[in-house]
């Protein structure tokens, strides 16, 4: 079973069909059921009660200062110890940065939006309404692979993937390896040194028929998790 940790706001999670498309996409890719749970519902006890093969932490449209860190403590405790293959995408990646860059996440009182950079004068704006004046990497971009890893199996030096973000991880967390970059964002991909915990600033799960590198990437992740051959 795959656990999808939704980073939607609690209100979005209650009122929308949150992550239904992603659930179906992963079920089709792996033949394994995918359970969606909101981040505030995640605890070590819940994770221990489920036969999980993999965890995927989604992106979010919510500014980090609006997220209560205490609602993330359960997920933090899972991430601090789990051996279950985990992939965080976009906000899920940034969350891994918060978890592993903090000395003790339980004492973190407020999360900050760490913007990629301010827009230059007269620079075109790709998404205007969310974070005015800030640069957004939006669209399909090329990633430069910096280190070999099974997650890049079948790729030759780079991949083309979907991006949609204003913020980034500014500091590589201790115990993490820097796996990919591009000119917009240095820390495009990270991996824990000892455990199969991956983060990507890009959205491999948002593949399309035309740009399907993300699909091959997710297949590699689910292969690492033992879900596909």
């Amino acid at each position: 079973m795959i656990l999808i940790v939704s980073m939607s706001t609690p209100e979005e999670h209650d009122t929308s069909s949150t992550r239904g498309d992603l659930k179906r996409k992963f079920e089709k890719l792996t033949g394994t059921p995918a359970l969606v749970q909101h981040y505030a519902e995640i605890t070590p006890a819940l994770v221990d009660s489920l036969p999980l093969d993999a965890i995927f932490i989604t992106g979010s449209g919510c500014p980090w200062p609006d997220v209560d860190p205490r609602k993330l403590d359960g997920l933090y405790e899972v991430m601090a110890a789990t051996e279950i293959p985990t992939h965080g995408a976009c906000a899920g990646h940034q969350l891994l940065g918060f978890f592993f860059n903090a000395e003790d996440f339980h004492t973190v009182e407020k999360l900050e939006d760490e913007y990629v950079r301010k827009l230059a004068p007269n620079e075109a704006v790709s998404i205007s309404d969310k974070h005015p004046g800030q640069f957004a990497e939006q669209g399909v971009f090329e990633m430069e692979i910096l280190a070999e890893d099974p997650i890049f199996q079948g790729f030759d030096g780079s991949l083309l993937v979907s991006e949609s973000h204003f913020c980034e991880v500014k500091t590589l967390p201790p115990d993490f390896i820097h796996l990919a970059r591009n000119a917009n964002t240095e820390i495009q991909k990270i991996k824990h040194r000892d455990r199969p915990i991956y983060g990507t600033q890009f959205h491999p799960e948002a593949w399309t028929d035309k740009f399907d590198d993300g699909k091959r990437f997710m297949q590699n992740f689910f292969r690492i998790a033992g879900l596909i051959d």
């Binding site: 929308s16 239904g20 059921p33 489920l50 036969p51």
Partner: protein, 229 residues
């Protein structure tokens, strides 16, 4: 874990619809247990054996039975006929239990719709877009309890519940007990005589603040499943 078996048309589940997200959240709030939604065509004994399932809820459907592929039901039917797990089928899910236990599915080419009755001349159609020309029981209706059962704990003779159906079960399946009726539809509730498999023509899961009998009914079901005290 609760498993919701979605009876939506194949290809609709969580791809083009809400994927029962609101119902999932309702059951999670009620029981504190995670809820996994799977389409009926995905559910087999093999799948359920891999999951820590405590209870199964089979949803309703607006798809006429005559348009459902019989072969797509084989795996789910084999599982339901054999399992000891608590099951509740509501509306279409209830009618499906009738189909499973009244037939040897592998000898059936096409399913019957089993409409309740034709509308009388000049009788108003309460849901003209649903199944035109056929009587639809729609709204909140009283249902009379005709046999005692733990599922009716705290009810005194009847309950007020949401109805939205044009079809019904015409014949009580062998090994089933008839639990409730009303003047529109004789087989409003039934259960397997040896196993905790329940069907209701009504929608207990569609309770609201004004009509909350369905909530107490669902609490009784989840109590039978050992999920709440």
């Amino acid at each position: 874990m609760i498993l919701i078996a979605s009876m939506e048309r194949i290809g609709e589940t969580y791809e083009t619809s809400s994927g029962h997200h609101a119902l999932k959240c309702k059951f999670e709030d009620m029981t504190g247990c995670p809820v996994l939604v799977q389409h009926y065509s995905q559910i087999t004994a093999k799948l359920v054996d891999t999951l820590p399932v405590d209870a199964i809820f089979i949803t309703g459907t607006s798809v006429p039975w005559s348009e459902v592929g019989v072969k797509d039901l084989y795996g789910f039917c084999d599982f339901v006929r054999d399992t000891e797990l608590p099951i509740h089928g509501a509306c279409g899910g209830h009618q499906l239990l009738g189909i499973f236990f009244n037939n040897d599915l592998r000898t059936v080419d096409k399913l019957d719709n089993n409409w309740m009755r034709k509308l009388h001349p000049n009788e108003p159609d309460s849901m003209p877009d649903y199944h035109p020309g056929w009587f639809t029981e729609s709204g909140v209706w009283p249902v009379q309890i005709i046999a005692a059962d733990p599922i009716f704990d705290s009810f005194d003779g009847s309950l007020m519940v949401r109805e939205a159906h044009a079809g019904e079960i015409k014949t009580l399946p062998p090994d089933f007990v008839h639990l409730a009726r009303n003047d529109n539809c004789e087989i409003q509730a039934m259960r397997h005589k040896d196993r905790p498999i329940y069907g209701t023509q009504f929608h207990p899961e569609a309770w609201n603040d004004d009509y909350s009998d369905g909530k107490r009914f669902m609490e009784n079901f989840f109590r039978i499943a050992g999920l709440i005290q």
